[in-house]
């Protein structure tokens, strides 16, 4: 589905996750964040950049454990930055697919 986010056309799925990570930029991120009630700080952006880099390298969205153990961000802090559903929210704002906690 094609929608307009931050003034540009972007493809998203039913849940609003970007389907093409290439259509992402920081303006899109800010709009997605606002959509779920977040205002992005540098700390948020550092996490988001790790999520995008890891997704680009591995082709899957990182789990909470991975963001913590590989990215070096504390899980407790991630719950403060992205309350209640950090794994899902980080991916949403980073423009990568919703992480599937493998079936």
């Amino acid at each position: 589905m094609l929608v307009t986010i931050a003034g540009r056309p972007v493809h998203v799925n039913e849940e609003g996750f970007l389907t093409d990570a290439g259509e992402w930029d920081e303006a899109v991120a800010a709009a997605l964040a606002a959509d779920i009630g977040l205002t992005l700080s540098d700390e948020h952006l550092a996490v988001i950049r790790f999520v995008r880099r890891d997704f680009a390298e591995r082709g899957t969205s990182p789990t909470l454990r991975r963001v913590s153990s590989v990215g070096g961000f504390e899980i407790k802090r991630l719950f403060v930055l992205f309350p209640k559903k950090p794994a899902k929210k980080m991916s949403y704002v980073a423009g990568v697919p919703k992480p599937i906690g493998c079936v």
Binding site: L78, F79, G101
Partner: protein, 412 residues
């Protein structure tokens, strides 16, 4: 003489040597299988131990019985792989050189990864059923349980057999009913997922089954520690779930030597190509079964289907041809729902579980995503199939729903 070395003589390792020994000439290939002990466990049977349906003897057999002639079984601890030198060192100090390596050392529960879990309440009011020892201890605890909050808990995905904690709850519900004490027990499921299961339709159906049984669902709960004194699970966002009896599925991790050898991801699982199960790093290293990072359930059925693909490919591989078979991520699992019924899930990389029928001459059809007695018979039959058919590398009489010409009948 070439040497195929298989690490781990559980489901995957045993299936692998049984599938390959007849297909590799004895005078060209030596095959060695390594495991730390001589007890092969039928792990799906652990589920039935807490309720007294199975005993130790039902789930443990000597490994040698399932290892074909022409394969040497070495009992030793695996200490490290040196993928550059193509050697594996063992606990005894022995070093084995290989031409081709299969890592099949599975994944194991690690209660040590959650602070407080191994405290004084461990195996008193804090339990697990992912080891035989744990399942036996839980059986004992259940026998004397007089009621209160029974909490089943999943720490983190992925775990092997992701439906097992739900099955435990369904069986517990039936068990407490049978004992006439269901009213005295509050059943709760605590999960880090946003629902009862991962994929939407199965999550919805399974959530419905929890609700029907009056089992509360506490989702999006990522455990930070177990508060042993207060008998509560505490999450990173400071939610608390109190328990009288906790049955947790600890974090599942691959073997420590995988990490020591530089082959593991953050959970010590070996990163592989999802279609060939070959290591991304080393062309002569494969990882089969729970030890790898395939984006699919860690289950005996997935192991079986993937080992079939691997065995075909291995012959191409050692003759320098491109590997022609591709694993499609096929898994099926019976979900025991108590009262003599079960649900069957069938899925792969592309297709999530959905309702339908699954043909099986003689016994079936099994009904997908619905509770039936036939599905329960299938679950029990699985134990017999496991010991007599699967481990020996014979074909499973369950059709491959999406690959062969015996497709599922999907009810619209």
């Amino acid at each position: 003489m070439k040497h195929l070395l298989v690490l781990g003589a559980g489901s995957a390792g045993t299936m692998t040597v049984n599938a390959l020994r007849p297909r590799l000439a004895q005078d060209e290939w030596r095959i060695t299988l390594v495991d730390r002990d001589d007890e092969h466990h039928y792990q799906p049977g652990y589920l039935f131990i807490p309720f007294g349906h199975y005993r130790r003897d039902d789930v443990v057999k000597p490994r040698g019985r399932f290892v074909p002639e022409g394969v040497e079984l070495v009992l030793d601890e695996i200490d490290r792989i040196d993928p550059q030198a193509c050697t594996v060192s063992l606990g005894s100090g022995a070093v084995l050189a290989y031409d081709e390596l299969v890592i099949a050392t599975g994944t194991a529960p690690r209660p040590d990864q959650t602070p407080g879990m191994l405290g004084p309440e461990w195996r008193r009011s804090v339990h697990e059923f992912y080891t035989l020892e744990g399942a036996l201890a839980l059986a004992e605890a259940l026998r004397t349980f007089e009621g209160g909050r029974f909490v089943a808990h999943l720490c983190e995905m992925p775990i092997k057999c992701p439906v097992a904690p739900l099955e435990l709850l369904f069986l517990a519900d039936a068990h407490f009913r049978e004992r006439g004490m269901r009213d005295a027990v509050e059943l709760v499921y605590v999960t880090p997922l946003d629902g009862a299961f991962t994929t939407p339709l199965a999550a919805e159906r399974l959530a419905g089954m929890l609700e029907q049984r009056g089992i509360a669902l506490e989702s999006d709960f990522v455990v930070e520690h177990v508060d042993d004194d207060a008998k509560a699970l505490v999450s990173y966002d400071e939610r608390r779930v109190a328990f009288d009896l906790l049955v947790s599925v600890p974090v599942n991790m691959g073997a420590d030597f995988v990490a020591r050898s530089g082959l593991g991801d953050e959970l010590q699982h070996v990163s592989v190509d999802p279609h060939t199960m070959r290591s991304h790093q080393h062309a002569n290293v494969f990882a089969l079964g729970d030890a790898n990072d395939l984006p699919i359930s860690k289950a005996g059925s997935a192991t079986h289907y993937s080992v079939e693909v691997f065995a075909d490919n291995f012959l191409d591989h050692v003759q320098g041809r491109p590997m022609r078979s591709a694993f499609d991520g096929h898994v099926n699992c019976f979900v025991e729902t108590g009262g003599g019924k079960a649900v069957l899930l069938d899925f792969d990389y592309q297709t999530p579980p959905q309702p339908g029928r699954y043909p099986l001459p003689g016994i079936g059809p099994f009904t997908l995503l619905e509770e039936t007695a036939t599905n329960h018979a299938g679950k029990l039959m699985f134990k017999w199939l496991y010991w007599h058919v699967l481990l020996k590398g014979r074909a499973l009489p369950l059709p491959k729903a999406r690959r062969g010409n015996a497709p599922r009948e999907v009810i619209p």
